[in-house]
């Protein structure tokens, strides 16, 4: 019984991994990675998007529009609110209990990239 259960889980695991890989290989590229083509955004423009309903952040020289992501973020929106409309690298590097976000979290940001930051 245990042998069957573990074997089924083992097969299901690799099937899931293979599915994600296949989807990723077959799906068209969703994000343009060429940052040169992105508009430059300065601090003043950034500051104009400082609410949870319209939340932009500058992180390591790039600007992200996180408005749609805020409801999906694991912490309450109030944690992210103070970082809207400003340079937020510190928030990204020292999230909950003083530690960096995971590499996966960093990778997720590409989907919200809207410009490069000019100080």
């Amino acid at each position: 019984m245990i042998q069957k259960l573990t074997f089924a889980a083992f097969v299901a695991f690799w099937a899931s991994v293979a599915t994600v890989l296949a989807l990723s290989a077959l799906a068209p590229d969703s994000v343009a990675s060429d940052t040169d083509a992105l508009p430059e955004i300065d601090a003043e423009t950034l500051a104009g998007h400082a609410s949870l309903d319209d939340c932009w952040m500058a992180i390591e020289g790039k600007v992200y529009d996180f408005t749609d992501y805020i409801p999906k973020h694991p912490t309450p929106p109030s944690i992210m609110a103070p970082w809207c409309g400003r340079e937020a690298t510190e928030g990204m590097r020292t999230k909950g209990y003083g530690r960096d976000h995971s590499p996966a979290a960093w990778a997720m940001m590409d989907d919200y990239l809207i410009g490069t930051y000019v100080d």
């Binding site: 573990t6 083992f10 530690r99 997720m108 989907d111």
Partner: protein
């Protein structure tokens, strides 16, 4: 402590980090389907690692530590259950986190599942998971029946797997406050390290006692009983316990320097040790030809088949099959030494009389030990063991404690018979060697 309490204690310890994570659940963890998936992903990771560490803690094999669990075989069973739960949870862990990230984008899901470049946090997680599959797979017969020694060597990969999983967790953990993370993980990891150091370093140097093979007796053509003399401090043990024996005889064709579990057939009052070994595998077949005078090492004792009292104060029913007679032989020899009256019925199951080991000695005991009776069950003559056979030969059967030892099929059958004869489950004690 009862076996149930001992098992419960270990499970609570193993689930402690997950319990803390559930207590500290935040509203945002349940805010959306992807938040729930993300939370479950983290929770399965936390629970999986903690269960893995608890399984490592149980692998220490300190003599006597297995007693509250009802013996080492029962302790191993708990170890096996912990590891299985850990394995299932850790397989679900990355998949749940990947599904949660898929709500952002497919790229985010892939980045969550697969490491890129020097992404040590994910590489260590994958390393731990792949090692886990490699050393647990044979235990679940993923790739057929495993070779015992190869399986034992492969199982050592558990140590690097745990280390990688800890690095992965300390890198990515964010569910619990930092202090909780540090205390829980370092506490469990420290216990696991102490266990593993004991097992692979301390016990090998100081736990193995030197003995010499004084005589080799052959009760049958595929069974030997080794008589051992201590070359240092002698082992203290109870009747029915077993030891890990490491033969050092250079002339052995297999199993030299390998440890294997064997039951002691001697009574605790004897000066030396006696160990009964049936040829069942390469090492036990080779040991049939072990040289008298050669050296062996003995580690133990383990097991808790019989209660710790020297003589029974309640009536007993013993059901033995084949080489499973060994712990009963030790107990009967011990009771003969003590000399007090007993109330014991032994049902000895074998194919035919030619395969009944130590039959003359048991017949002798049946005449000299007051209250001890022997009934032979020959499979070729009587068919499978049933409740009629046992009930007719065993008076007041429902008042007895049943002790059953033998090969797997007999164990199941005898338990069924004991159950049919109204012996409550709490008074049915079984012993089986499986993947020790």
């Amino acid at each position: 402590m009862t076996p149930l309490q001992a098992r419960s204690l270990i499970w609570v310890l193993a689930l402690l980090p997950a319990i803390v994570a559930v207590v500290m659940l935040r509203e945002s963890d349940l805010a959306s389907p992807e938040a729930v998936l993300n939370y479950l992903g983290r929770l399965t990771g936390i629970a999986g690692l903690a269960l893995m560490l608890a399984a490592a803690i149980l692998s220490c094999r300190v003599p006597g530590f297995d007693r509250p669990f009802g013996g080492l075989t029962k302790l191993w069973w708990t170890h096996h259950q912990l590891a299985t739960a850990a394995f299932l949870l850790l397989l679900a862990h990355p998949i749940l986190l990947t599904l949660a990230a898929a709500s952002v984008s497919l790229d985010a899901a892939v980045a969550t599942l697969l490491p890129s470049g020097l992404d040590w946090a994910l590489w260590t997680g994958w390393g731990a998971l792949l090692l886990l599959m490699l050393f647990l797979g044979p235990g679940y017969r993923f790739f057929g029946e495993p070779d015992y020694q190869r399986w034992k060597r492969l199982h050592r990969l558990a140590a690097p797997a745990v280390v990688l999983a800890l690095i992965h967790t300390l890198y990515l953990a964010r569910t619990l406050p930092w202090l909780w993370e540090a205390v829980l993980w370092l506490g469990l990891a420290a216990l696991a390290v102490v266990s593993i150091l004991y097992r692979f370093s301390w016990s090998r140097r100081f736990g193995r006692r030197p003995y010499r093979v004084a005589r080799v007796v052959r009760p049958a053509n595929n069974v030997v009983e080794l008589e051992l003399e201590a070359e240092g401090p002698a082992l203290t043990y109870e009747a029915g316990q077993f030891v890990y024996l490491t033969p050092r005889d250079p002339s052995l064709v297999a199993g030299r320097g390998e440890e294997h579990p064997y039951t002691l057939s001697s009574a605790p009052g004897e000066t030396g040790l006696r160990i009964a070994i049936k040829a069942l595998g390469d090492a036990s077949r080779a040991i049939q030809d072990i040289a008298e005078g050669s050296r062996v090492q003995v580690e133990g004792p383990y097991g808790g088949f019989f209660p710790q009292r020297s003589s029974p104060d309640a009536p007993e029913l013993w059901i033995a099959g084949g080489i499973g007679i060994t712990p009963f032989l030790a107990r009967a020899r011990h009771l003969a030494e003590v000399g007090e009256p007993v109330d014991i019925v032994l049902i000895f199951c074998v194919q035919d009389e030619a395969r009944a080991l130590w039959l003359d000695e048991f017949r002798e005991l049946a005449t000299t030990l007051p209250g001890f009776s022997l009934h032979m069950h020959y499979f070729y003559e009587n068919g499978p063991l049933d409740s009629t056979f046992v009930g007719e030969r065993c008076p007041n059967v429902e008042t007895r404690t049943a002790y059953i030892c033998g090969p797997g099929p007999l164990l199941g059958l005898a338990q069924k018979v004991a159950h049919e004869l109204n012996i409550p489950r709490s008074r049915i004690v079984t012993e089986e060697f499986d993947l020790l």
